[in-house]
Structures are given as structure tokens and as C-alpha cells.
Amino acid sequence: MTEKSQPADDPVLSVRDLTTEVATPEGRRVVVDRLSFDLAAGETLCIAGESGSGKSMTALSIMRLLPEPMARIASGSIHLAGRDLAALSGREMRRVRGADIAMIFQEPMTSLNPVLSIGHQLTEAIRVHRPMPRGEARALAVKALSAVRIGQPERRLQQYPHELSGGMRQRVMIAMAIAGRPRVLIADEPTTALDVTVQAQILELIRTLQKDFGTAVILITHDMGVVAEMADRVIVMNGGAMVEAGPARQIFHAPAEDYTRMLLAAVPRLGASQTVSDLAPPPASSVPDDTVVKVSDLTVRFDIVGGILRRPVQRVHAVEGISFDVRRGETVALVGESGCGKSTTGKALLNLVPWDGAIVIDGAATAGLGRSAMKPIRRSIQMIFQDPYASLDPRMTVGELVAEPLTIHGLASGSELTDRVAWLFNRVGLSPDQMQRHPHEFSGGQRQRVCIARALSLSPKIIVADESVSALDVSVQARVLALLQELQDELGLSYLFISHDMAVVEQVSHRVAVMYLGQIVEMGSRAQVFGDPRHAYTRRLLEAVLVPDPDRRHGAFPIADSEVPSPIHPVGQAPARLAMTDIGNGHFVAG
């Protein structure tokens, strides 16, 4: 695509001095500060920024979907085709929404009504703006679904949101949004909740539709990879204000502002760690007892009960006979898309789900151990969860939370306990003065530091980090990853690093295991898996990763029509086990 860098002569959307305020207990707070920009027909404008930058508030302001009266447009104008949206009445605005300007949201499941069929919702969306007989609207709906490359559209119309995968649901949302042929489409983090391969398809879809219909797109995202892939022009926001705006190439190659530079530097880049190897090699040794965790033939299955007798009718084969080991001081990454069984594997290591097979942690077999028998082993293995807020009891202070493991295992009490907790706080970069506060008073990054301190308190040999940085902003993510790295160098910790993010995995891990549908399809050193991927799935994953460089765009990514295969099988029908072949130097590839 050619880049439209010149300011448009005749913009579709023109925002001037938009200021949005939110009421807080401390008074009014400006969340969008005098923002101005123009959007030309057929152009893609990316608004990039970290959480709290005001990018979503900008979208909601333009759509006039602010949660009034808590938030309101304080001043400024939003001109869409000659009309000032900021001055329209609620009723007039409802007519504009969907017809002239439409929006798609991050989470397609919550944006669709779960009790109405896809067909019902789609035809309603069409009929709201263009009154027409139901049959005609249905025909249009079929067309709209075909436009977003959904196969068998007639059948899909009968289905309900829960019957579709996340990617399919997002396509339905896009179909609904473009059904009214809007001039402007606002997409707020449209692919953040999706797997990388699905993300690539959705972005490609948006691009194709834009070409076909000439829609102008405002894409709001925190992901610089998505920005580089899609943007003609970019606005970088921070703290509600515009930091920098310009054509995509200029922003990526010659950023003018420090903040933009910082943001770009924090983005993990695939391939970057091969040139700059800042990762200390794991202490290579052939001493047999340096294996911290050994997993053999791990299988986790969940029954789905059904029928009157509540008997198992189907089984989720979450993990299907995987084997790997983690050595001292080593980071092993489990990567894969959602539902591949990587998190379940992590939980099995801590006996949080029932499993079959054999797991040996620091010399102790954990098969069939109950809660109390498992307790001493937990001193060797700890876990950091994905969502640092959900995994901390909100009614306890962070000091109590960090002290708790020590109390449970009887490792410290009284002033010794306080000292130890203070030391842990300092170690993870928090101030011990903050011990009396509750988790909700901290930012996401700080909360994750609390979780790390908690895991660290037992001086474990290995920490399972389950998507531990996925929910964090890139700059915070970089700092938390650096902390984990530091702790590894200092304490000789091992990590089982579970992630969907190939770039992060490449940055932190010594060895990588790629999981697909409950099985490992490829395993080897970082150089082997990233430099010489052998399995088709690994290649597909790597191809789908977006590079934060507008000169290295993907361009056409095939939009698959198929649904993702599922790990659910009828009882008694186990999926075929893949045989692993060693193709040299510990690089294993499934047959």
C-alpha cells in the first residue's frame, strides 16, 4: 500500500482540541487533552499508547459513548462530513452511529449478545439504519458474513456467539460494523484478545475491507507491531495528550520525542536477541543432578459430563503426553496459542490440576501427592500468574501477602518475618513503606512485583511464570522481564516461562517448546527453534508475529476460513500421539 503522508485536503473526520474529562473523587481529571487530528478517506490512523494514555477515551469521545455523566467532552469539536458530533443530541447521534461511524471492541464475546443468534443480531444491526423487510436484511447479512470471509454464512446465521471461536466472533463484529457502510471505522484493540495467527488474519481482513469500501480506519492499540503493520499515520499518546504524530515510517525510523523512542525501545523484537545476546548462557554441565524439573509423559484430561446420568461424554485432552526437563539456572519457554495446554502444564507442575504421568521436582516425585504431602515440595517450585490483581487476595495488605508463604511454611516469624518481607520488597524494587497498602492501590507492574516477591519468599529452585508479563504495558513488561533476568543471574533460578508472545520468548529463554493441541510439536534451543524452525506450526507462529517496522510488513496473510481444531474428543478416542525425532543437538521435531 502507498503511504498517505500528506494532510488530507478533504478529511472525513476532523477532530479539533478535543478535551475529555472524567469525574473522580479528587475532582475533575482531564483524560484527553486538546487532541486534534484529521482522517482522510481510505486512510488508517493508529493511535498508540500505553494503558491510561487516553487512547480508548478518544475513541469513546468520538463515538459519544462516554459513560456519562462520569465522563464528558469538555470542549472541542468532532467534524464528520460537515457535522459536529460533539454538538449532536443523543438521538441524532444514534443515527450517526453505525451509519457513518462504527466501532469494534477488544472483546468480541462481551460485545455480542449471548442469547441471540448471530443472524438475529446482524439483521437487527442492518435494519436499524435501513428499514427493510427481514428477508432482505437477511440476504444482506449473508453478504456481510461472506465479506468478512466467513464460510457457510447461512449456517453461521443460525449459530450463537458461544459456538464461534474468538477470531470468528471478531469477524462477526466487523461484519456488523461495516454492514451500514460507515465512512469511519474505529477499532479499539481489535486483536489484543486473539492469538497471533488469528490476529494476522483479522488485520488482513480490515485492510482488505478498507480497500474495497474506502473506509477510513482509526486503529487504537498498545501493540507497536500492529501499528507498524497497519498504520499510514500514527499518533502517539501519553497521559491524555498527543506526544507525537506523523507518517508511520517517520515515527518508527526517526521518532522526534523521547517518549516515542522509549516506547519503541521497550518493544521486544523477534530476531533482536540473536544479534545482541544479552542472555547469559545457562551453566552448561552434564552433572546428572542439575535437573530441577523432569516431566515425563504428562497427560491432563478434563471430563465434560452430559446427559441425564451426568456421565462423561467428552474429554478435553488439554495436555497429551508431553515430556521435557528444566535444568538449574535455565529458562524453558512453553509457547503456543490459547487452548494448547501450556497453562495447564504449568498448573500440573504445582499439582493444581489432576494429571497422569510422572513429574519429578528437585528429586521428588509428585504423582498423586495430596495437599499436605505436596507442601514441602512447593518450597522448590513456585508460580507467578498472568493477572497479578486476580491472583492477590484483595482484602489483604501486600505485606501480609508476601509474608504469608513464610508463615505457612514456618520459615520466619515476628521481627525476622518483617525483616525478611522488607528485604523481599526491596529486592523486587518496591518500597517497604508500601507494605500496609492493599493490592488495588498499586499499578499492574507493581502488583506483578508483589507476586514475584511472594513467589521468591520461599527461595524456590524454579518459578513457573504463566503469561506473567502479558497483561503489562511494554515499558513495564521490559522492566519486569529485566527483574526476572536479574533474579536468575543472582540466585540461579530456573523458569518455566509460559507465553504466547514469540518475541518475548525469544528474548528470555534458553530452550523453547512449542505446543499445539496439547502436544509439543517442536523443542530445542532458542537458536534452533527460532533460527531453524522445522515444524509447520512453528513456522506459522513465527510468520504471524508482527514486526515493529513499517518496512517489514506482512502484506497478504491468508485468511483461513476454517475453525481452529479442538482438543475435545469423545470418550475413548484419544488423539494420535506425535512421535518426536531428534534432528541433532537436542532439537526435537514432531513427526
Binding site: P25, L352, S372, S391, L392, P394, R395, E404, H438, A455
Partner: protein, 291 residues
């Protein structure tokens, strides 16, 4: 519990007092409690004594005047004195009956929710069974079997009222047990008892508090209903419910006999509701500083 528990109760009370509605509720409750405790001192007349000067020459009850502040009843007893003593009955029922109901309900609900399986299924089916049973009918049957008395009334009310709180705590316990932080607690090696008492029960406290305070008002009302039906607290012991019951036929000629005990019931129920609502917000640390 902890040495800080006393101080914490103090801050909770202080924060309650900062909300006008909660403060109003607190004052109403306090007045009723004091009235009940000091009834023998405050009451101008013995509650059950039929006063000669308490009736007109025709034998009709007296409306409120300087001697009989709230008037007299059909037998010439001082209504104000009877209401003061009636507060004792209402509070005993409200606190004891409701206390038993809340304790039983919470225990059943939490046990069923936390342990699940067969234990949970049996407990919850039993709860469903009790819920399906018409409360009033059960009360009538029990009152018929046993001699009606204050304590039987309390027992009946407890048996009827525990089911809702069992349901509520059951669902809440189940959803709490699924929360990430409970899994995180298992991961650091916390035992089941610790998870239950340190990480699940504290989250249930606001719910239980709200149900306990709301329950007091429904309990007082249920006692009034039972007494009104004649199977509650037996005369001559005064209760707010049976005062209304005795006087209902004279509502048009002596409205104060129904009006004053009615207002007392409404105010007390309202007071507990207001305090209960406020407590729910105050006991949630994530709401701190919002008011």
C-alpha cells in the same frame, strides 16, 4: 481475634457515624436497645397492669395525653410502657432468632460450597426442601406442637430464615473458590483450613453482615406476623406484633394502638437496613477512601 480488633471496631463505628443515613439507623437501634434494657426504669407503669384510670367511664381506651404518653389499650394498660417492654421481645427475637438463622445458614452454605461433592449436594437439596416448605405453615405446625412461647417463636423463625442465607453464601463460596487468588494460595502451600478461614470467609463477611442486618428486620416482622396470627408471643407478655393483633378491630376508634407499634417496627427494621447497607461498603477495603 487480633489485638487490633477493638481499634478496628472503633474505626468502623466512626466511619458509620460519618454517613448521615447510617448514623440515623445507628441512633434508632441505640434508642431501641436502651429502651429495652432500661424499660423497668423508664416505663411509667407496669406493662401488664390494668389501670383503673386507663379507661374512660364507658370502658374505651384513652388517646395519648400527658399521663399516658401514647394512650392506653383495651384493658387500660399504658401503651408506652408496653412498647418499651415489647422492645425487649422484638430485640431478643431479632438478635437470637436471626443469629441462629445466620449462623446455621452460613455454616450450611459455606460447607456445601467449599467442599462440594456429595456433602454439598445433600446440604443444598435439604435447603431447597426447607425453602419449598411454606414458612407460615411450618411456624403454625411447630407452634401447635409446642406451647407457644418467646423461645419457640425464636426457634421457628430461625428454622424458616436460614435457607436464604445458606443459598447466598453457597453461591458466593463457590465463585470465591474458583477465583485466581485461591488457586494462588494453593500454589504457595496454604492448607484447606487456611484458605477457608483466611481467604474465603473474610470475603463473605460483608454478605453475611448485610443478610444479618436485613434478617433482623424480616425477623421482627415475622414475629409480628406470628403474634398477629395468635401463635407468637402469648399475652400478657407484650410484643410489638401482638399489641397490633389485640387492637386491630379498634383501628378506626383507637388508631394509636396500631399506629405506634407499627411505627416502632418500621423504624427498627429501617434502622437495621440502613446500618447493614453502610457496613457492606465500609468493610470492603477496595472501597476505602471513596466516602
Amino acid at each position: 481475634m487480633t489485638p487490633g480488633a477493638g481499634a478496628r471496631l472503633g474505626t468502623v463505628l466512626a466511619r458509620l457515624a460519618r454517613r448521615p443515613l447510617a448514623l440515623f439507623g445507628l441512633i434508632v437501634i441505640l434508642i431501641v436497645v436502651l429502651a429495652a434494657i432500661f424499660a423497668p426504669l423508664i416505663a411509667p407503669f407496669p406493662p401488664n397492669e390494668q389501670l383503673f384510670e386507663g379507661l374512660t367511664l364507658e370502658g374505651a381506651p384513652l388517646p395519648p395525653d400527658a399521663t399516658f404518653l401514647l394512650g392506653t389499650d383495651l384493658l387500660g394498660r399504658d401503651l408506652f410502657s408496653r412498647l418499651l417492654y415489647g422492645a425487649q421481645t422484638s430485640l431478643i427475637i431479632g438478635v437470637v432468632a436471626n443469629g441462629i438463622a445466620v449462623a446455621t445458614g452460613a455454616m450450611v452454605g459455606v460447607t456445601a460450597g467449599f467442599f462440594g461433592g456429595i456433602v454439598g449436594a445433600v446440604l443444598m437439596r435439604f435447603t431447597d426442601l426447607m425453602m419449598a416448605f411454606p414458612a407460615l405453615l411450618l411456624a403454625i405446625v411447630l407452634a401447635a406442637i409446642f406451647q407457644p412461647s418467646l423461645w419457640i417463636v425464636a426457634l421457628v423463625i430461625a428454622m424458616v430464615n436460614w435457607t436464604q442465607i445458606a443459598r447466598v453464601t453457597y453461591t458466593e463460596t463457590r465463585s470465591l473458590a474458583e477465583r485466581d487468588f485461591v488457586e494462588a494460595e494453593s500454589a504457595i502451600g496454604a492448607g484447606r483450613a487456611r484458605i477457608l478461614f483466611r481467604h474465603i470467609l473474610p470475603h463473605l463477611v460483608p454478605t453475611i453482615m448485610v443478610w444479618a442486618t436485613l434478617g433482623i428486620s424480616t425477623t421482627v416482622l415475622l414475629e409480628a406476623t406470628l403474634s398477629y396470627l395468635g401463635i407468637g408471643v402469648q399475652p400478657p407478655i407484650p410484643s410489638w406484633g401482638n399489641i397490633i393483633y389485640e387492637s386491630q378491630t379498634y383501628f378506626t376508634t383507637a388508631p394509636w394502638l396500631v399506629f405506634f407499634p407499627g411505627v416502632a417496627i418500621i423504624l427498627l427494621a429501617l434502622g437495621f437496613n440502613l446500618v447493614g447497607d453502610a457496613l457492606r461498603d465500609i468493610l470492603d477495603p477496595t472501597q476505602k477512601g471513596r466516602y
